[in-house]
């Protein structure tokens, strides 16, 4: 095993959240850029609060830990759920930077459930301190329609989804060239690289997104024109198949991919059968609504669900039985592997953006 760049380094703690234990992370460059832009601005007397927006499990906790470390002793770590309990106001502090994790913990979807968030927004707007906060993307989209979040956090970074190549780079950076062996159950032969391929492009027609086939010419593959025309085939590299499947199932979410990778890795063997495609989800409206609440928080307590949707034990049981959530009697969390399927389903129903 060798040390690698990016966040190969991520580790799972007991709660299932992704944490980092190495100095080199995927976010290292982002961290430097943020420190340069946001903190330098603060030193120059300008205050540009920053929101980092990502889906659950993305691994932002690890990133905030590093930010807090880099900004020590100027920064103070705050937690959205704790702030909610304190009415939305951070404790008095002489620290000039507030780093808030889980801003989605500052509200409840019920009448009177936005008071703490409103107080927090007022505080952020009027405070001389700089705030860097993370927020669940589904909560952010919802709250933006209700509260002036975008105005008090003028800088917003939406964390991107990663493709198979990115994930391969991240996960293999810790290992030698042929250190791992990939066991794929079924390999479908594919055509060798053709310079002309049929790609798919998303085209917007009157507000609808339609995927249309578009021929793509790849200059670098021109040398393969002859074998391509002879319909020569070769088995796809196991590694590539594995990471394509990993990217598809995780939806490009690096935190979910990390969890799935750990399940698949039996050093030095990487088993692809642990990567199970999530079947398409078909839930009724009540199940879907509760699922949207859980998705927009990532993880929440049972009493919060009760506050929002009343008695819902049978619905929670139904979601748990379908493998969409985990429930330990007190806390309800999304199942990482169900994240993409749940988000796709709720997007179809327009319950999330």
């Amino acid at each position: 095993m060798k040390g690698g760049p990016i966040y190969a380094i991520m580790d799972l703690d007991d709660s299932g959240e992704v944490t980092a234990h190495d100095e080199d992370t995927l976010f290292a460059a982002a961290k430097e850029e943020i420190l340069r832009v946001v903190v330098d601005d603060l030193d120059d007397g300008m205050r540009s609060n920053l929101a980092l927006i990502a889906p659950p499990f993305y691994g932002l906790e690890a990133f905030l830990d590093r930010m807090a470390k880099a900004l020590y002793p100027r920064a103070q770590r705050l937690d959205g759920a704790d702030l909610y309990r304190d009415g939305g106001l951070p404790p008095e502090s002489d620290k000039s930077i507030g780093i808030v994790s889980g801003m989605e913990g500052l509200y409840r979807r019920r009448i009177g459930g936005f008071e703490a968030m409103k107080r927090f927004i007022d505080h952020v707007a009027s405070s001389p301190h700089l705030f860097i906060a993370t927020c669940n993307v589904y909560s952010w989209e919802y709250l933006q329609e209700i509260l002036p979040l975008g105005q008090v956090f003028p800088l917003q970074i939406r964390l991107p989804v990663l493709d198979a190549k990115d994930l391969m780079e991240i996960h293999l950076s810790l290992y030698g060239e042929a250190e791992l062996e990939f066991a794929i159950e079924k390999e479908t032969p594919v055509r060798v690289g053709c310079p002309i391929r049929l790609g798919r492009r998303s085209v917007a027609i009157r507000g609808w997104k339609v995927e249309v086939p578009v021929p793509e010419v790849r200059i670098k593959d021109l040398k393969d024109l002859r074998p391509c025309l002879r319909h020569k085939t070769e088995p796809p590299p196991s590694k590539r198949v594995f990471f394509e499947r990993l990217a598809r199932i995780s939806g490009g979410n690096p935190g979910v991919a990390e969890i799935l990778w750990r399940r698949a890795l039996e050093y030095p063997l990487v088993r692809s059968e642990t990567l199970q495609e999530v079947p398409s989800i078909d839930l009724d409206f009540d199940h879907s609504f509760i699922l949207s609440i859980i998705l927009s928080k990532g993880s929440l307590e049972l009493k919060e669900i009760a506050e929002v949707a009343g008695r819902s034990m049978e619905i929670l049981y139904g979601l748990q039985r379908r493998g969409m959530i985990s429930f330990d009697g007190k806390t309800i969390s999304m199942q990482p592997e169900a994240l993409k399927g749940a988000a796709d389903h709720l997007r179809r129903l327009k319950l999330v953006v």
């Binding site: 009448i111 009177g112 329609e145 929002v308 179809r348 327009k350």
Partner: protein, 267 residues
């Protein structure tokens, strides 16, 4: 005279009658099957429900149009002069006896081509309000809020249609609550806004904002909440959910319903 009338008509034998009946029966079965299939697909297609349902009347018109063409083609064998004579006769017949029927069918064709509303829309046609369940050749069938099936003549489409959602699955719902004019309007407005945006039936996006307006009247204050329901079938669910939760919250903070003019004068 008898010869000249017999020429444009094929011999009306049993086979021809049977053939015509079979064409009509096939068109009926095909149209029912296509309607059932598309309705089923639309229910599973979530966001595309109304788009798929839009195809249904178009398909039915096409099927029946082809069936009528096939029958007429078998029955009538016309030269240009004869076609002119027959159309003149048909025109006279329509003018005298079938004008309502023709107006209804023309209305149906206009609905399909002009799309003032589509299957799945919430509309008011004349005095009837409801969800469009089916657009037929002669009439449009609506499901009213009390679950009755109403048939409205397609003639009315030319002058008396109000469409609440215009082909979209989302629809604006307006909820009026009336409170005592001495109540705290800001607090009431904030509560009603939160009741609206926290409802499970609300659709919130930059194109679908939520809003609460306040207007004073002599003996009461009207709060008007405007928001989009994510699926128009939940129009009344949204209304009920918001109203019930808002009144519970009003009660907790002492916001009351108007007491009537007599009580106001007394106060």
């Amino acid at each position: 005279m008898a010869d000249s009338l017999a020429t444009p008509l094929s011999v009306l034998d049993t086979a021809l009658i049977l053939r015509s009946a079979m064409i009509l029966a096939s068109a009926y079965i095909l149209s029912r099957a296509a309607t059932a299939l598309l309705s089923r697909i639309s229910e599973r297609a979530y966001g595309y429900r109304i788009t798929i349902k839009m195809i249904i009347p178009l398909l039915k018109f096409s099927i029946y149009g082809i069936a009528i063409y096939l029958i007429l083609h078998s029955v009538l064998v016309l030269s240009s002069a004869q076609a002119l004579a027959v159309s003149g006769l048909a025109g006279a017949a329509v003018g005298f006896g079938l004008k309502d029927l023709v107006a209804e069918v023309v209305g149906g064709i206009i609905i399909v081509l002009d799309k003032p509303y589509q299957v799945g829309d919430k509309v008011r046609i004349g005095e009837v309000y409801g969800e469009v369940r089916d657009i037929g050749l002669r009439s449009t069938r609506l499901i009213t809020p009390d679950d009755s099936l109403a048939s409205v003549s397609n003639q009315l489409v030319l002058r008396e249609v109000l469409n609440a959602n215009a082909g979209s699955q989302e629809m604006m719902v307006v909820i009026d609550l009336y409170i005592d004019p001495r109540s705290d309007a800001d607090l009431a407005r904030a509560i009603l806004f939160e009741a609206l945006v926290t409802s499970r039936y609300i659709r919130l996006s930059p194109r679908h904002p939520a809003k609460v307006l306040v207007k004073d009247f002599p003996f009461y204050r009207r709060l008007r909440a405007k928001g989009y329901v994510y699926d128009l079938r939940h129009e009344f669910d949204l209304e009920t959910d918001v109203t019930a939760r808002a009144w519970l919250a009003f009660k907790e903070v002492g916001i009351e319903a108007p007491k009537g003019w007599a009580a106001m004068i007394e106060a």
